[in-house]
Chain length 203, copies 2
């Protein structure tokens, strides 16, 4: 069985939970809170020297870090990773876009405004920068969705899971999605996929 070291409120940790639910993989959660120092203990750093969750322990005991690496690894051979070479390349593109141009703004704003006690005051001078970067990313997504239903090629797949994780809770970081109708329709399509589970769900 897989073990996922995971913080329930983290969108990055939600990604492999959602994919494993949709793949029907059995796994257990090892709750690990990155806000209380649990990812910086010697024991955890032995498992992931980068000190982050999610961390996936494979059934044979080997470890894999990085949420989007888990998505690619777990989806190999399934319909959540496109079989077509170019569609697969675009999936890679959107996964890296998510980690570089989307998450550092939208997830970070959410963490400070929604998860960190007193974070709204502490982060007040950084919010404008996160909104600038985050709205730019949302604009790129909206433009894509004007001509396509999904980010993973012609069907729902791991690029949609990666981008859904923090986009569907962007309002927690004071992002207003009312001017992004394509994104709101895509969020509904993702929610309608077979086997979809919410961020609260636990195996």
């Amino acid at each position: 069985m897989y073990t996922l070291y995971s913080m329930q409120s983290s969108g990055n940790c939600y990604k492999p939970r959602l994919l494993m639910a949709q793949l029907g993989l059995e796994f257990r959660l090892a709750d690990t809170d990155s806000f209380d120092g649990s990812t910086r203990t010697d024991a955890f750093l032995q498992k992931n020297p980068n000190g982050k969750v999610p961390l996936l322990e494979l059934p044979d005991g080997r470890m894999l870090a990085e949420s989007n690496a888990m998505l690619l690894h777990l989806s190999e051979g399934s319909h959540y990773l496109p079989a077509d070479s170019y569609e697969r390349a675009l999936t890679y593109q959107w996964l890296f876009f998510e980690q570089y141009s989307h998450e550092p703004y939208i997830a970070v704003a959410r963490a400070w405004l929604h998860l960190v006690p007193g974070g709204r005051d502490k982060a007040a001078d950084r919010l404008a920068g996160w909104h600038e970067g985050g709205y730019k990313a949302l604009g790129v997504m909206e433009r894509h969705l004007g001509a396509a239903d999904w980010f993973s090629g012609s069907a729902y797949g791991v690029a949609d899971i990666a981008l859904y994780a923090y986009t569907h809770v962007a309002e927690d970081g004071d992002f207003d999605l009312s001017a992004y109708p394509g994104i709101r329709r895509w969020l509904d399509r993702v929610r309608g996929e077979p086997g979809h589970v919410s961020m609260d769900w636990r195996p």
Copy 2:
């Protein structure tokens, strides 16, 4: 033939140049400077709505953004992407590590200190943060290299290319590699690989 929209001094643009050289792929460079506005023109945004280089135009005219997506796409079926499923998963892991935990510190410090006119003064108050994040990433790499020769599993591959791109010029961002002997030996191993080309090289 491939066309790579590329800025010669960018490590992200160097990654696909190096891999395409080692794969023996024919390609031409379309020089595109992200500092002079060339990536923000309407014509370029039609090609890449995220307004960044590198951008790869495939022989059939379709576009692919994100340097590490290019590495994965171009290396499929070659020995630069591990055939073993777990080694391939670790390759994914290091590629996402590079974009999230390494590049935003080491590449950004280099850009401001080495490429932006007057950048050393303008960025003075941010350098400590970039060094904190960058040295943390270098520490994770050094630890890995204590037990392994490569980041792409058992042989040189695209994770090594991705991490080499900015690590080998980390000193441009005032990073001191003298306390990282494992990294320095790995940099030498990368330089010794068949078909290696330097950042200056053009096809």
